[in-house]
Structures are given as structure tokens and as C-alpha cells.
Symmetry: C2
Subunit: 478 residues, 2 copies
């Protein structure tokens, strides 16, 4: 273990180093751009999946599993879809020792497979709405990869729904956007902005793409997931029709929506500090780590016995607790080890504490210099811990919100904006006339429209000065 | 919906039709040999996963995720492994619009990837044992496929462990075999036989392969999963070494073990009957289906209100219940619908029942002619239902065990065995001298050694008449 790079001076290196040291991922892989998610990282993913999976089921959506490999020709049925995905698919040309008659692509997303199946499953308005989801791996051949943020293979859920009316489909797409926002804010403690993507940033094959965007500590935005209204030509291309209540053939309105292991990257980049990760308690693989402190063998017996009892009690209370009784390590080394991994609460216990029927709690959020030791009597431990975990969950969100507020700027003109953006990354709220040409002007400054807001506080387009319709948020992005 | 093929006369067609009608799977797929697992089938898989995942974690194994794509050259590092898997891999030759410098294979299993990572993670005896598992999809290019039983892509868990001593590794391999047996018998209600595979049937790269085998209703055996002791040359090929307590370099002893979506096929073929599936209650997606019965609108209000209350109560009791209040269907059509899907208990409720404060329970295991209606007073419903579900769980296992006993034969000689096998599929317990030549003689009769037993009731080899070491079980197999 080496000291982490300075989070303020070199955020990219800090990120790379912290995810490796915390053992979320192994940065070395024999397969370019695909990484092993290690137990601690995977446990975090499992906790995120559990939350999201329940909300998906509550929406009336059922889980299924679809084939990994898709006939290459499927992609080409929708013009924008093939344009968007063909350049980044991985292609299987040989299998079972022979050349395949038709190449198969590894799914970059499953709309085409879904619509083939929908054409079999949807016949009548009685079959609608049809709502399915799968938890799966997908492959997109990215050139520059970074663990969790952009990888050639990643894990995600992809939901796909078909509805008789546009209103109902729209409601579903927005409902899932709301679910994602809830996951991000209430569980990952990441404040997010939701809104529509501009046309140029839409999913290939969508009429509308809704996004939820986080702002990372370095002032760059991160698209954390999306929900789409698909074009009807997409569905038509796969002959998906239903008979409506009047007996006429209609094309259903379809949505798709997905969130990925990128959420782990968002969590790391939102909450980490100079000492490593900080895990929001609701999804932390370990919420409390117990570090026993002793010198003599007598003390050891005494302290370990008490520590084991506390661990068992907390576990029974539904708290995810780890007793670190490794005798090869000093307490100091353990502090360091679990700080890098972002365990929200450290519980220390020594011979004096056993005597006084108390323990010491330390809050991972507090900076080194201001670290307080909270002495808690054993009878109050459960309630104190629950309070402290809730306080950390809330504290992380509020701290991220404050950080974001300090990085959320207004700008009136391109010159204004260009000047500010040169000095500080961040979110820039500006007016926009909705013309692609003006959007194009952002590229020079490595900025993109993260989303179109429902507000219109700026009257003029930042670029051409024509009347603005909605404000947009512009930022550099991952 | 059409009538199912006769289960006794045409088991293969019955299987194909029942998994389609019950909507476990869609038998039509645009990708040869890979099938969509539909919501009802996937819910069953999720229940199986939940049970097994907990037991895997209890064994001290941690979940991870490894890349789907493996450098082709990795496979070739172990001679038997490449011999076993090279003929059936799917190969990615192009990605991101370019030809790859080195082709990548889609994992048929992940030992090679695991050992590459183990060589990074294992340095000292302190790093052992190392126990990891992943839930993932794998691809093996099978020529003849059948949903769940043999497919080009399937879902599974693969566990991989490394240990300092052979004894410890052996214990782990056998512990997992025990876990699988428990899953099969106590949850899927399938009696299984455990034992070693003969050398010719071992996993490519294993020193020993332990199997758990079920006997399907048609008298054919099904390998339901395996646990292996890997060769040390396999690990050596990836430079996996650790420093032992004496400071010397050693190669660890490794195991791997897996179970797949084939378990669903095993469940279908063990418990199904002329009317469709029968789901063992512990893993049934729906344990109780409520069918309300009424004629007038007044009756409807009365009955539905009660049915909803019962559904809510049972749900709160942790029972997986479905109220089928579809008004487009007659009660008879609903009976048929849920019988094909194998819901263990049907709960009927009509106006008379509401009046008498009772419901009717029907046990899916009972054959049509002997179907009893069990009238149960509402106050006793919870306990009656729990009893009935437990009774069905036990009854399914016992019925399968009896069926297996009737299909388990002894034979002394090849002639004896050949004659019997011609008349009846089933398990044939015979003596064996352990020579591959004698094993080879089985092929003529489409038989294979399913496993080597720990018994030795037969004194002579079935084929050459030389002294037998252990009895073996021979059968035709899926």
C-alpha cells in the first residue's frame, strides 16, 4: 500500500489508485478493457442490485434472460441503431470449430432481440403493457477504458416495455427515471439532475432520452443512466403489432432504460477523500468494522470476547459488521486498511472500554484533523450506531450537494462561458435556441449538453443570442 | 394451448411442449441453441440462485465478476483443457470495426482467467485459502441443443478455490458436492446419487470430478452439476505459487465447482406429470394460486373482496401467492393454466365458501381421478397451507425416490446388462475392474458410467470378469 495521490491535484490518478487499493477491482486484466470486479466491489454491486431490483419489480416489471449473441443483421434493421452501435460491437465469426454462416454480435444492448421476441409475445391489447428486465453483461468495444466508468464489458440491467398508448409509455420512462433518481440520491447519496438529452446525445433509436447526471468532485459530469422513449420505426422493423380494442393493428409505444456498474464509479468519485473511499451506509458492504486493541494475552482474551459478542449482537440487528481480529496487523494498519475501503464507522474497543462497558465510534466522514472519538455506553450502542449511520448517509448527500452548488455556474454568452470553463470545471447553466449548430460550438471547449432543464431563466441562447427555450446544463463529462 | 403429448409414450415431446406451454422458455430463438428464459422460468431460477448463493457464502466463498472474453492462447496452456474445450468455443475475431490481433474466446468456463488472477493475488500461505465464485453466462457451442438441458449459452455459478494442502482442497470439493446434494434433495426434491466420475468422464484439467446425478422419469440419468480437484499442472501453467510457512515456493491445490440452469430441466423431468409441471414448494415462483368462483355481480364483489384479503394475509405470512382475477377466463381455464405451470396448491373460493368462512384447497400432486377437495376453515388456513406445502415438498421427493428405486437395477455381466438395458432404461449397478477398455464396451449400448460408487457389492467386472474394485452406476444419459 502506498500513499494515495492527492485527490485535489490529480483526481484521475487518485481514482485509479483508490479503486485498486480498496480492492474494488483489479486494474490488470488479460482482456483489454474488461476488469475483474473483486469481492469488495462485487458486494457493493450486489447491494445496489438488491435495491434497484426490488424497485423494478414494484413497477410491475418481470425479470427474464435473453441470449448474449445476436444475429449481426438484426442491428441493421434500424438505421440509427446500427449507426450508433455497429462501430463498437464485438463479432463472433467462428464457433464450434467452424466459420459461422452469419456472424453473431455480442449484445451491446438487447433492443433488437427484445423486439424479435415482442413480435411473438404481443398479439392483442390484452398482452399490454409488457414489461421485462434483465440483469446481464454487455460488450461495447471502447477505445479508452477506465474501470467502472468506461469498459469494454460491463454489468447492467436493461428494462424494456411496450404499451398501447404514448401517454402510458411516457409515464413508464419517467417512472423509471424517478426510480433511478431515488436510487442515486437516497441510497448512493449522490445528488443528480434529471432531464432530457439533446437530439445529438440521444440513444440510437430513441425519440427521447432522459438522463440522470451526477457531478463528480473534479467538476466533470457523469451520465449515470438513461431511460428512453424508442422510435416506433424501431419496433415496426421487427413487426411488433397488436390488435387494439377496436380490432385494428397498431404499433406499441416502447421504452428502454438501463443503469450499469458505472454507478460504482460515480459513488467513488462523489464521496472519496484523501484517505480513500467513503461508502454510503445503505449500500456499504461493511457498515461497521470492529478493531480490538490490546497488549497482553489477558487483555486479548478479555477484549476479543467482548468484541465477538458485540459483532454477533450487531449482526442480529441487521448491521453489516466485520470484526478484524487479524493478529498479523497493528490497530494502526487496520485503521488505514478500512479507511481506504470507506467503511462508514470504526468501532474501537480496548481493555479500558471493556472495564467501562463502552466502545469508541469513529465517523469515516470526518477529516483526519477533526476526527472525534465518540464514547458510547454498550446499552446505547444499537441506537447510537443506527443514528450515526443515518447521520453519515445524510451527511454524504448534503456534502455532495454543497460541493455541487459551489460548482454550478450561470453563464450568458459563449465568451463568458468559455472563459469560466477554462478556469473551473463544473456545471454551466445557459440558455439555448435548440439549434444543433449552437450545440456544436460547445465542442471547442470540450463541453457537451448534459441535459435540457425544465427551467428557462436564461432568455437568450448562449451562442447565437436568439431566444432561448429551455436552459441547458453544459459540462465536461466522463 | 393444446393437450400435452403423453408423458409415458413420448417423454421428449412432452418435455419440449411443457416447458413452452408453462412459459419457462420460448423455444423459438433467433440465435441457434440459445433461448430466452421467460419470467416464470427466470423466477424459478432466481429462487434456486437465492438458496445456492447463501450456501456458497456460508462456505466462506466470496462472489466476484470476471471478464467474459478470454485470450485464445490461455486455453492452450493446459493440454487436456484445450483438448476438451477448444472444439466448442465461440471466437471473437473482430471488435470495434477491426480484426483483433489475438482472437478472444467467450468463456466456456473461467479456470484460465481465474488462475491468471490467482497468480496476482496469491503470494503467501496467508493468502490461502482463497475462495471465489461468480454467477455468469458461459458459451459452449453444442451441436444438438435442448432448452435448459444442453444449450450454446447457459447461466451458472462457477466456484474456484485455492488451498495450501490437498486435504483442505479435497474437503472443499466434497463440501460443495454436499451443498449441491442438499440443494437438489431438500429444495428441488430430486433424489441424487453422488460419486466420482471415471477418468474418461472427468472435467478437462481435473484429477478428480465429483458428480451429482439425478434419474429422470424416462430412466435416463442427468448430470446435475460437478465439483473438481484440478491438476496441479493446470495451476503451474499460470505460475500460481505461494510461499509456505517454511519460506518455500509451493503450488496450491485448487478446486472448481458449478451448477447451471440445467437444474430447471432436472426439476421439470423429475416431477412433471400428464397435466404439466409440478413445482416443489420451496422454489416454486407461485406456491398458491387463488381462483375466485362466482356468477352474479353480487357474488363477484363478495368473493373478490374475500379473495383479496386472503391473498394479502398469505403474502404477509411469507407465502408466494397469486390471485388470478382475470375476468376474461373461466375458472376451468384457470385451473388448466396453473396446472400446466405446476403451482403446488390451488385455493378455490366461491360464494358458499365465503358464507361458511372456508376455502377449498387442491393439491397439484394428486392425479385427476383421485383429486380431493380439502375444505379448510379460514382460521386454520395458514397452518393448513404450511402443512400442505410441506407435505407436497416431502411427497415429491418420496415419489421421485420410489420411481428411482423401481428403475435401479443390478446386473452381473455385459450380456445380462445389455439385455435388460434394451428393455428398460434405468440405472444399472455393476462391478468394474477400472479398465478403460471395459468402460468402452458400454458405448455399444449407449451407456456411460454415471459415477463410481463407494460400494462394492459386485465382486467381478461386468465386462472382463476380473475382480471389481467399486461398483459403478451405468445409464443412458442426457
Amino acid at each position: 500500500m502506498t500513499k494515495l495521490p492527492n485527490i485535489n491535484e490529480n483526481f484521475a490518478e487518485w481514482y485509479h489508485e483508490v479503486i485498486s487499493q480498496a480492492e474494488l477491482v483489479d486494474p490488470v486484466s488479460p482482456t483489454r478493457g474488461s476488469f475483474v470486479i473483486r469481492p469488495y466491489g462485487y458486494a457493493l454491486w450486489e447491494n445496489i442490485v438488491a435495491v434497484l431490483n426490488e424497485k423494478i419489480k414494484e413497477s410491475g416489471t418481470q425479470n427474464i434472460y435473453m441470449p448474449l449473441l445476436i444475429p449481426e443483421a438484426f442491428l441493421t434493421r434500424e438505421a440509427k441503431h446500427v449507426e450508433g452501435f455497429a462501430p463498437e460491437v464485438a463479432v463472433v465469426t467462428h464457433a464450434g470449430g467452424k466459420k459461422l454462416e452469419e456472424p453473431l454480435v455480442i449484445r451491446p444492448t438487447s433492443e433488437t432481440m427484445v423486439y424479435f421476441m415482442f413480435s411473438r409475445w404481443i398479439k392483442s391489447w390484452r398482452d399490454l403493457p409488457l414489461k421485462i428486465n434483465q440483469w446481464a453483461n454487455v460488450v461495447r468495444w471502447e477505445m479508452r477504458t477506465r474501470p467502472f466508468l468506461r469498459t469494454c464489458e460491463f454489468l447492467w440491467q436493461e428494462g424494456h416495455t411496450a404499451h398501447a398508448t404514448q401517454v402510458e409509455a411516457q409515464e413508464m420512462a419517467l417512472h423509471m427515471l424517478g426510480v433511478y433518481k431515488e436510487l442515486a440520491q437516497d441510497y448512493l447519496a449522490i445528488p443528480v439532475i434529471t432531464g432530457q438529452k439533446s437530439e445529438s446525445e440521444r440513444f440510437p433509436g430513441a425519440d427521447a432520452t432522459y438522463t440522470f447526471e451526477g457531478l463528480m468532485q473534479d467538476g466533470k459530469a457523469l451520465q449515470m443512466g438513461t431511460s428512453h422513449m424508442l422510435t416506433r420505426s424501431f419496433v415496426e422493423a421487427f413487426d411488433v403489432y397488436f390488435q387494439n380494442t377496436e380490432g385494428q393493428q397498431e404499433v406499441p409505444y416502447c421504452t428502454s432504460w438501463g443503469a450499469t456498474t458505472r454507478l460504482i464509479g460515480a459513488l467513488v468519485m462523489t464521496h472519496g477523500d484523501e484517505n480513500g473511499l467513503i461508502m454510503p451506509p445503505k449500500v456499504a458492504p461493511i457498515q461497521v468494522v470492529i478493531v480490538p486493541i490490546f497488549k497482553s494475552d489477558d487483555q486479548k482474551t478479555l477484549v476479543l470476547e467482548r468484541a465477538q459478542k458485540i459483532a454477533a449482537d450487531l449482526k442480529q440487528q441487521g448491521i453489516r459488521v466485520k470484526l478484524d481480529d487479524d493478529e498479523q496487523k497493528t490497530p494502526g494498519a487496520k485503521f488505514f486498511h478500512w479507511e481506504v475501503r470507506g467503511v462508514p464507522v470504526r468501532l474501537e474497543i480496548g481493555p479500558k472500554d471493556v472495564e467501562n462497558n463502552q466502545v469508541v465510534l469513529v465517523n469515516r466522514m470526518e477529516p483526519d484533523k477533526a476526527k472525534k472519538k465518540l464514547f458510547v455506553s454498550l446499552d446505547l450502542l444499537n441506537s447510537s450506531l443506527h443514528d450515526l449511520l443515518a447521520q453519515i448517509q445524510k451527511g454524504l448527500f448534503e456534502r455532495a450537494e454543497q460541493k455541487r452548488a459551489s460548482q454550478w455556474h450561470q453563464a450568458d454568452t459563449l465568451a463568458d462561458f468559455a472563459q469560466k470553463m477554462k478556469d473551473h470545471n463544473g456545471l454551466y447553466q445557459v440558455g439555448w435556441c435548440e439549434s444543433p449548430a449552437c450545440e456544436q460550438n460547445l465542442k471547442e471547449f470540450s463541453g457537451t449538453i448534459r441535459c435540457v432543464l425544465e427551467q428557462s431563466s436564461h432568455k437568450k441562447c448562449f451562442s447565437c443570442g436568439q431566444p432561448s427555450k429551455n436552459d441547458i446544463l453544459v459540462a465536461k463529462a466522463y
